[in-house]
């Protein structure tokens, strides 16, 4: 399609203008508001005891969620790609389900299952608190991040096919050896990409986590909950800006990783 210079330029201006107003300006403003009082103010705000414990809790949740998702995500992807069984289409749909479910609905669903009055309420009465405890927050995070690893690994598995694995088996490698030496190296970039997405979402999840957390500062507050409570409960607007900027910094690192990994993936 040959587009005249004038039209092309005006389309460019509209597109970039939209992105500027929607993304660049707000981010610029929050950066300005965060760093206007000085770097020390920012550092002080993100190193209060409550902020530290929030960061620790967020990292703890990530540290549990990532390995779990890697193991089950790769297993699920293998089953979906390599397995021929009835109900595979159904399994596919279940993997995509978390994308279609509102975070708030995730929270409500977990309360209905694990809460004191839920199906597994007996656990709660026995003293093992899932909802309003860390297990609930972990379960919520796993729910919302479940598709990432599967969806990133699946197409790679499809693409590499089974020939390399079969070649390894004809050369004497057993199932485990084939997995560690052939399959895993082949999917490593896709898997890493999935992990990066998982980390980003696990750190950033808010809706599902706030529903199942008691939200006590210093106890059960993640970074995102900290941002929320500082703004709403403490009316500490600056504190909220600072914590949000911290999270944004993490997001930028994630974005950078995504770009680099994307290039690595397509290089192969």
């Amino acid at each position: 399609m040959r587009v005249s210079r004038g039209i092309r330029l005006s389309l460019r201006v509209v597109a970039l203008g939209y992105l500027f107003v929607l993304l660049a300006v707000p981010i610029g403003v929050i950066l300005w508001r965060t760093f206007e009082p000085g770097l020390s103010e920012f550092l002080a705000s993100i190193s209060t005891p409550a902020a530290r414990s929030a960061l620790n809790l967020s990292l703890l949740i990530v540290a549990i969620t990532v390995p779990v998702n890697v193991v089950f995500g790769v297993a699920t992807a293998l089953a979906l790609v390599r397995g021929r069984f009835r109900g595979r289409g159904l399994l596919q749909a279940v993997v995509d389900l978390p994308f279609a479910v509102s975070p708030i609905v995730v929270g409500v669903a977990l309360i209905m299952l694990w809460g004191a009055g839920g199906w597994f309420g007996a656990l709660d009465q026995a003293g093992f608190q899932v909802i309003f405890g860390i297990p609930g927050m972990v379960l919520a995070t796993i729910f919302v991040t479940l598709p990432f690893v599967v969806r990133e690994v699946e197409p790679v598995l499809h693409e590499i096919g089974q020939e390399q694995e079969q070649a390894a088996s004809t050369l004497g490698a057993n199932g485990w050896q084939t997995f560690w030496r052939i399959t895993l190296p082949a999917i490593r970039w896709g898997l890493t990409y999935g992990v990066v997405l998982t980390v980003a979402r696990a750190l950033g999840e808010f809706g599902a986590v706030i529903m199942v957390s008691s939200g006590f500062p210093g106890v059960s507050q993640t970074l995102t909950l900290l941002v929320h409570s500082r703004y709403i409960d403490d009316h500490n607007t600056y504190g909220a800006y600072a914590a949000a900027t911290l999270l944004m910094g993490i997001a930028l690192v994630v974005l950078l990783l995504m770009t680099v990994l994307d290039r690595k993936r397509s290089d192969r």
Binding site: E163, Q164, A167, A168, S169, T170, L171, Q177
Partner: protein
């Protein structure tokens, strides 16, 4: 010796192997030849253990391997698309089987270097498969398969993904390699020329069954049936029979044609035809003809004969089959 007995394999209602039995002598280079969907790849993969048979048995050098996984069959397998381990260097690819077997490092290194020299890839040790041409990748795959000293070497359309020139080169090279290494080799191909060129035995498969097994000359000259004849070279329909185009002679004089034809057993008779086109093919000339029945066929004659006949398009001519060699002649002893 590889022995496959009463092998059956179904994919749904499709019979990929329909009661196949085959012996492959030790040290031979056998080609499994057939059109796509004939079951040749399934047969090869069943020998390798990459497919499990529904019923039937496979033995390799007298050992029943029917229930053995590929790891324990003592085979080397070469895939059409190389199945190169993309994240490993050429050396690591070739060394893979030895590494799995935890061979001493020095021994592995020596063996790998040896093999890379044999396949003409010395100096490429540290490259990655992506940095090799298709032909080089396939030679690497061969070295990798040979590294574990397999009892049998199985090749699944090994040259199918390569271009014509590389394909013929590698073919010759495989032939020479086999003369040196003498490992029992089975090659799957749909290319009759490749099979005739490289193999010392050919099994022709069609629709999950074996049509005929034999050496290339026998298969070409004494095909068991129409299918084998048609698959192993071009054929012309002459008076209801199949004849190789170069076994058709053309005569100006009908009486001469009849007299010569009388000496041929089971001949299709003399066919009157009209010359439609004369196509020079270098040493030979292809003459495209239309019989009086309307049926079109082609004869392949030498330039000299063509010059003597002074063929012109539109002229009438008399065609006859020159010998019984290529005319269908079923020898029950050869048919399986």
């Amino acid at each position: 010796m590889i022995t496959v007995t009463s092998a059956r394999k179904n994919y749904g209602s499709f019979a990929a192997l329909d009661d196949v039995s085959l012996d492959i002598p030790s040290g031979s280079l056998t080609a499994l030849l057939g059109p796509s969907g004939s079951g040749k790849s399934t047969l090869l993969r069943s020998i390798a253990g990459l497919e499990e048979l529904d019923s039937g048995t496979v033995t390799i050098e007298g050992r029943d391997v029917t229930d053995e996984p590929p790891q324990r069959r003592g085979i080397g397998f070469v895939f059409q698309h190389y199945a190169a381990f993309k994240h490993m260097t050429v050396r690591d690819n070739v060394a893979f089987g030895l590494t799995i077997r935890k061979r001493p490092k020095a021994e592995t290194r020596k063996k790998v270097d040896e093999l890379l020299e044999i396949v003409g890839l010395d100096g490429f040790q540290h490259r990655y498969p992506a940095q090799l041409s298709g032909g080089q990748r396939q030679r690497m795959a061969l070295a990798r398969a040979l590294a574990v000293d397999p009892q049998v070497l199985l090749l699944d359309e090994p040259f199918g993904a390569l271009d014509a020139k590389v394909r013929t080169d590698l073919r010759q090279w495989l032939r020479r390699l086999h003369d040196e290494v003498h490992v029992t080799t089975v090659l799957v191909t749909h290319d009759q020329e490749e099979a005739l060129d490289v193999a010392d035995r050919i099994a022709v498969l069609n629709k999950g069954r074996i049509e005929q097994v034999g050496d290339p000359v026998t298969l070409y000259e004494r095909p068991a049936n129409d299918f084998v004849m048609g698959f192993l070279g071009s054929v012309a329909h002459l008076g209801g029979q199949l004849v190789r185009p170069h076994d058709i002679a053309l005569e100006r004089d009908r009486a001469t044609a009849l007299a010569l034809d009388a000496k041929v057993v089971d001949s299709p008779g003399v066919i009157d035809a009209v010359v439609e086109r004369v196509v020079p093919l270098g040493f030979e000339v292809r003459v495209e003809l239309r019989a009086e029945s309307g049926e079109r066929f082609a004869a392949q004659i030498t330039r000299r004969d063509a010059a003597e006949l002074q063929l012109r398009e539109g002229e009438k001519i008399h065609a006859r089959a020159t010998g019984r060699s290529s005319v269908i002649d079923v020898d029950p002893a050869l048919a399986i």
